[in-house]
Symmetry: C2
Subunit: 219 residues, 2 copies
């Protein structure tokens, strides 16, 4: 049975799942969905994900979307890799940080990146400074909390887990977005640990190349 991965190089959400696919050393077939040309709105793709978003997967009869739900499912295919612990209290912490990223950290980072990176890449100079200031104030609350969570440990839930992949994907545009980690040293060290992993490096290649093609350099 082939596992099919519906991908888009530009998407930080797809990056999160692509990295977990590589970390788990799963065999899979990639279908690149060209969002710019509307390939995400075809009837064939909407039958996979009615939201018309990437990532999505198909595994036999199962169509699945939402990157963090996909990553949890993929981990169940390779439980020996331990990316999603079975013990309820450890799993609960993985879920807690994954939801926190989805609900709080991710949207704040994404809005700043939209104003500071994506708008200029589209030739727009109308950054919404009020929005940026508001999201920066939110980040000033959230980053110390993540830094405290990472202090004294290598990964957010102790061992490497899907929560690290969820959280880290949100930081990839930090440099062009002007977000400093100078006051979050545990976060900076943790990102370096993840960036040293071959699976992360492989997953980053199409993302980095896509951004470079639009004049966005990550470093």
């Amino acid at each position: 049975m082939t596992l099919t991965f519906y991908d888009a190089a530009f998407s930080p959400n797809a990056l999160r799942t692509r990295a977990v696919l590589h970390e788990l050393e799963l065999g899979f077939e990639t279908v690149e969905i060209d969002v710019a040309s509307g390939a995400n709105k075809t009837a064939a793709f909407l039958a996979i994900n009615p939201n018309g978003k990437v990532p999505a997967i198909r595994d036999g009869e199962l169509s699945l979307w939402e990157s963090r739900a996909i990553n949890a499912y993929l981990s169940s295919l390779r439980p020996e890799y331990g990316l999603y612990p079975v013990e309820p209290q450890r799993r609960a912490l993985v879920d807690q940080w994954s939801y926190w990223q989805a609900i709080h950290l991710g949207p704040a980072m994404q809005k700043i990146a939209f104003e500071r990176v994506q708008k200029p890449a589209l030739g727009r100079s109308d950054a919404d400074e009020t929005s940026i200031a508001g999201e920066r104030a939110t980040l000033a609350q959230l980053l110390p909390l993540l830094d405290a969570g990472l202090a004294g440990r290598d990964w957010i839930a102790g061992k490497l887990s899907v929560a690290d992949f969820a959280l880290a994907s949100t930081f990839m545009l930090r440099r062009p977005a002007g977000i400093s980690l100078d006051h979050a040293p545990a976060v900076a060290a943790w990102i370096s640990r993840l960036e040293a992993r071959p699976a992360w490096q492989t997953a980053m290649q199409p993302y980095r190349a896509n951004l470079a093609g639009r004049g966005i350099e990550l470093t």
Copy 2:
């Protein structure tokens, strides 16, 4: 070992967890956190949830926050109730809809409710009509998708699960917020099924009373 539930009557996020606590027939002790008086910002509560938000729980040495992560953990304490299926493909669908509610449906509904319900309850008449129009357009995309997901089944993942509690809590302010389900009959029928459950009714009592105290009627 006592399970402690940090609650706030006004919070739809706390409602979601309170309902699951009752559905699972768990014994627990409630600590009401008076957010209006800043009880969520005390050092004692920030040690439980550094975000200063409800709900949170404490179970022995475990402090846990993010309502959907809490609900998954609580389900693991009573696996025989089947609120969070163990079979990976069924669990994946529960996760998918829970994240979709957290990321897409919930924020859209919440922003409309803030403008249409919470601002007037505070005596404010400055509803942001541009924001409301944008979120209504989003809802016009999302509601048919949920309606299709519920068509022909009683619960979103087949059997009752934590995903139903996550999704339903988002709809409780629909009437004062002026959100019609006339074009989403499967959603309307599903909410009625959940509202018929004693656990939901028990969980709704403090929420309903709190809102009534601020002049907000749910029906």
